[in-house]
């Protein structure tokens, strides 16, 4: 790993955010975090992450909208999107993939599993 991947972790639940942040940093990622949709969009203006871990249900802007934003922006054309959501219905998952997301992981997740999947995605 010549240069650390930059990862943006988005979740409105502080504890989930806390654990994901710890996990990703532990695995050598360059981590930035956002606690809601607005913050995410602001961070995306200044940063060009390689991957975004995205929650869907948030009080202001939902994850689908953010994914759409990322996928339609030239600046973030290399950016991969991984949804991490409690929404487990087939239709919700399908919607995520339809919007161009690379991965959809349902909560609750296994730490090992999530790290493996993301590393595989980036290699």
């Amino acid at each position: 790993m010549s240069q650390a991947y930059k990862i943006l972790v988005v979740d409105d639940d502080p504890y989930i955010l806390m654990s994901l942040e710890f996990l990703m940093r532990k695995n050598g990622f360059d981590v930035i975090i956002a606690r809601n949709g607005t913050e995410t969009l602001e961070l995306l203006e200044e940063n060009v992450p390689d991957v975004v871990l995205l929650d869907i249900m948030m009080p202001d802007v939902d994850g689908y909208a953010i994914c759409k934003h990322i996928k339609s922006s030239i600046k973030h054309k290399e950016c991969k999107v991984v949804f991490i959501s409690a929404k487990s219905k087939e239709a919700d998952i399908q919607k995520g993939y339809d919007l161009g997301a690379e991965l959809y992981i349902t909560k609750p997740f296994s730490n090992k599993d999530i790290v493996n999947k993301i590393t595989a995605l980036l290699d």
């Binding site: 806390m18 654990s19 710890f22 249900m57 948030m58 487990s88 349902t106 909560k107 609750p108």
Partner: protein, 912 residues
């Protein structure tokens, strides 16, 4: 009053009548039927009151006291029988497309043409003088008005002729519009109803004038009359066998009100809807009652005023206003009498002309081989011409009778004589609709015998009185046979002539009807018609009426219909019928027997059933049916109808059941969906804390080298999330408990004021920490509430902690508690960021954000408000929110403070 003014007024009146009739027809074209109205129907029945009523009642009252009232009491009694008798006749008439009373009798007795002809002829003989009487009334009233004096019976005025011609034109225009005689005469009936109003108003005005204008009310008249012997004796009914006379008068008029051709016309043929009977049953008697109120006062008044003057009592109504020099009133009274006369003439002429054309002329024509073969499309015009010609002929005869014959007879009792004449149809009709054994022979012989006796006992004496035949026949009997004396037949003496005639004619009529019916063999057609008539309600279903068997070809049948009805109408009728009964029509081949029967019925509406029979059998080859076969067909069709009824009932039940099932299914499905959604949301809500718990514990587990500080942070989070989880589970279980009704309210009486105050105190500390300004407004007194204290507290805690959660630092929260008479209201206002209007109701749904939303509710389980709502509802109260974005929110709930008692518990039960 000058001749010309009266003529102009009369003509104006006739024009008005024209206008009414025209307007009615015009409205019908626009789809609005004026005569399809119970009141118009009842008024048209009042054609019963003719000029004879208008002028003659007063005349009769001056000589016989109130015996004239029998003519009106009879119909009142008959009205009680409208439902069993008249309604049945109406149903039969509609089902069989009957168009006159003669047609009715002949259709009942096997569609016999000679019976129809006999009845028609008797109707004409019986009623023609009656029409003449109306013309005479017009002439005499006209005469009185112009000359202000009474002239003799030989008064001859061409005015009568003019009026007759005018009426003929009127009747032809509005009476012969369509060949189908079963079609309603919209204009005529409307005009007749209108005339009923005119004559009533005119007579009442005259009555009020005499009673209150000339005299001083009823009392005054009776007091004055009591001083004159001639009038005094009229206070009671006198004479031999007065009761018999009174009774026969009532009986006679009971029959007349149904069976006079004009009454049959308006009451049965022109009836649009049998439901109109319901109103007519009492409206018609009321009319008769009202129009007779002033008859006695006018009679006595006239006698008192004209004590020694030679003025005919029949003309008192008109003579009194004239005598007191009231020209306008006199004119009104004249027009009233005029309307009574014209309405009678109009309806009677229509009825008679239908009989003449359908039962006399056409059967004769249709029997002529060369006429029958030459029938083409012009036949419709021919029929109309026959009918128009009949109208002219009837009016002409009435006119001639009035001018040349009437002068030899006393016209006084011609009305009653007519009544007695048509009474001869009563056995055949009443028997016909209730007695299946009644036969054509019985009816025919009964009617002929009855009529002969009627003629012998009533007409013959009047001819003799006119010295046209030897009077000794009356005094000594023919050939000096004493027991054949017309006015005391078989030695029956002491009765008035009408009672005498009625007794003997009805006696022989009924006897002959009965005997001949019992002893004659019925032909199949008679049996069939008897069944249909007597059991009309069993068979009154279209398509069940085919006893026809044989071979008929569609083209023949259709061209027959086409000739009489026109191509378009014939085609429509046949197509509709076939469609209704699912009969396939092939216009090139044999006709279905039902089509043949139907065609015959349609034709019957145009030319009468007897003629229709002749016409249909001329284009078909009919096979004779045996009696057994007729019975079999009747039985089958009856079974068919019952089966149909049963099927319809079953199918309605089935539809209902299906509908219910569908609804139940839908409900289940929605409930299922709701349940699914709830479960999904619950699991979804559980996932969030579970996620962090799992992830954080994995971190602690996988990283033994964690610094203590970090480990503590992670484990602390796990503990918090576990708490959150169990909290959530408790709430879900609570909500489930409230919703399923398992939660019983533990009702106690407590002071709501105190409860809120306590909560306020405990939250005050927390608020101070967050720098929130928490305030309260509450009354000083106790607010006693009968409710579940724990649950109410739960609601309060939920609302206040919500407010704390959403109110930023330096914000304000204000609690208001107030007593609103029947309920206690608590409001909690905050200065948080508020709630969008469209969410005001949604936030009380459990997990409201789950509804296809990806936007999450800020904090909380999403169940708190749902639980609050449930608790408040269990107490019979309401909860709502008022808020705008960025302007804070105000949550308010009310709880009724019922007396500790039943209401609340009831509500509680109903929410279970």
């Amino acid at each position: 009053m000058s001749n010309s003014i009266i003529i102009i007024c009369s003509l104006l009146y006739l024009m008005l009548l024209f206008g009414v009739a025209y307007y009615a027809e015009h409205q019908l074209k626009k789809g609005k039927s004026i005569i399809n109205n119970a009141y118009v129907y009842a008024l048209s029945l009042c054609v019963y009151c003719t000029a004879w009523t208008y002028y003659g009642s007063v005349g009769r009252a001056t000589t016989n006291g109130i015996s004239f009232l029998t003519i009106y009491i009879g119909p009142t009694i008959m009205a009680a029988l409208f439902f069993p008798v008249l309604r049945k006749i109406i149903r039969i008439t509609k089902a069989q497309r009957i168009n006159s009373i003669a047609d009715f009798i002949s259709t009942r007795y096997g569609k016999n043409a000679s019976l129809a002809a006999v009845v028609s002829v008797f109707c004409i003989i019986g009623v023609l003088p009656y029409i003449a009487l109306q013309l005479k009334a017009i002439a005499i009233s006209f005469d009185i008005l112009t000359k202000n004096a009474i002239s003799g019976n030989n008064f001859f005025s061409d005015n009568t002729l003019y009026f007759t011609v005018f009426l003929a034109v009127f009747i032809i225009i509005f009476g012969t519009r369509s060949v189908d005689a079963t079609e309603k005469h919209e204009g005529l009936v409307a005009a007749v109803a209108f005339e009923s109003v005119i004559k009533l108003v005119a007579f009442l005005v005259a009555g009020v004038f005499v009673t209150y204008g000339i005299f001083n009310g009823f009392n005054d008249i009776f007091l004055k009359a009591n001083q004159i012997d001639e009038l005094k004796k009229l206070f009671t009914l006198n004479g031999d066998n007065v009761n018999a006379g009174w009774f026969s008068g009532i009986l006679l008029s009971m029959m007349a009100v149904l069976f006079l051709p004009r009454q049959f016309q308006v009451g049965v043929i022109e009836n649009v809807n049998e439901k109109h009977l319901k109103k007519a049953v009492w409206l018609f008697p009321i009319y008769l009652f009202v129009i007779n109120i002033f008859v006695i006062p006018i009679a006595f008044g006239g006698k008192l005023v004209f004590q020694n003057m030679p003025i005919d009592a029949d003309t008192f109504v008109l003579a009194l206003p004239l005598h007191f020099n009231k020209p306008l009133l006199s004119m009104l009274v004249f027009l009233g009498g005029f309307s009574a006369a014209t309405s009678m003439i109009i309806v009677e002429t229509i009825a008679l002309s239908t009989m003449v054309s359908n039962n006399l002329v056409m059967p004769f024509l249709f029997r002529q081989q060369n006429f029958k073969t030459s029938i083409d499309k012009s036949i419709r015009r021919t029929i109309l011409y026959i009918r128009r010609f009949s109208i002219i002929l009837i009016l002409l005869f009435a006119y001639l009778y009035d001018q040349y014959v009437a002068q030899y007879f006393s016209l006084v009792s011609i009305g009653l004589i007519s009544f007695a004449g048509v009474a001869q149809f009563a056995p055949a009709i009443i028997g016909g609709i209730y007695w299946k054994t009644a036969s054509k022979n019985g009816a025919l012989v009964g009617i002929i015998v009855g009529f002969f006796i009627w003629f012998y006992t009533l007409i013959l004496p009047s001819i003799a009185q006119a010295h046209l035949i030897n009077e000794s026949i009356i005094s000594n009997g023919p050939f000096n046979i004493w027991w054949l004396k017309p006015q005391s037949l078989f030695g029956l003496e002491g009765f008035d002539s009408i009672t005498h005639a009625l007794f003997w004619s009805m006696f022989f009529n009924c006897t002959a009807y009965f005997v001949f019916s019992v002893y004659s063999k019925l032909i199949p057609q008679e049996v069939y018609q008897a069944e249909i008539f007597v059991d009309i309600d069993k068979y009154n279903s279209p398509g069940s009426d085919s006893i026809w068997r044989g071979t008929a070809y569609m083209p023949d049948l259709f061209s027959l219909l086409e000739n009489f009805l026109g191509k378009e109408r014939a085609n429509n009728l046949i197509q509709n019928y076939a469609h209704r009964h699912k009969i396939a029509i092939d216009f090139g081949s044999k006709a279905d027997p039902r089509i043949v029967s139907f065609s015959e019925k349609i034709l019957a509406g145009v030319i009468g059933s007897a003629s229709a029979r002749i016409m249909v059998s001329s284009v078909t080859k009919e096979e004779e049916l045996s009696l057994n076969e007729v019975f079999k067909i009747l039985h089958e069709s009856q079974q068919m109808i019952e089966l149909n009824k049963e099927l319809r009932k079953k199918s309605i039940e089935l539809t209902k059941a299906t509908e219910q099932l569908r609804e139940a299914n839908l409900q289940l499905k929605t409930m299922d969906e709701l349940k699914d959604e709830f479960l999904y949301t619950v699991t979804h809500e559980l996932r969030t804390p579970l996620t962090s718990i799992r992830s954080l514990t994995e971190i602690v587990h996988d990283n033994p080298d964690l610094v203590d500080e970090e480990r503590e942070k992670f484990l602390g989070a796990v503990v918090k999330e576990t708490e959150r989880l169990s909290h959530l589970i408790t709430k879900v279980l609570n909500l489930e408990k409230y919703e399923s009704g398992k939660q019983k309210l533990n009702l106690t009486s407590f002071d709501m004021n105190l409860l809120v105050k306590d909560l306020y105190t405990s939250y005050k500390l927390v608020a101070n920490e967050k720098a929130i300004n928490l305030t309260i407004t509450q009354p000083n007194s106790m607010l006693l509430l009968h409710a579940d204290k724990d649950l109410v507290q739960q609601v309060l805690v939920n609302l206040i902690s919500n407010a704390m959660k959403f109110t930023p630092e330096q914000g304000k929260i204000h609690i208001v508690i107030s007593d609103l008479q029947n309920e206690i209201q608590v409001s909690i206002m905050d200065t948080g960021k508020g709630i969008a209007k469209e969410l005001h109701e949604l936030i009380f749904d459990k997990f409201f954000q789950a509804k296809n939303q990806t936007i999450k509710k800020p904090v909380g389980t999403g169940l708190g408000l749902a639980i609050c709502k449930k608790i408040i509802e269990m107490h019979g109260g309401k909860i709502w929110v008022e808020s705008e974005i960025e302007k804070g929110a105000c949550f308010t709930f009310t709880i009724p403070n019922f007396e500790p008692g039943n209401t609340l518990i009831e509500h509680n039960e109903s929410s279970i």
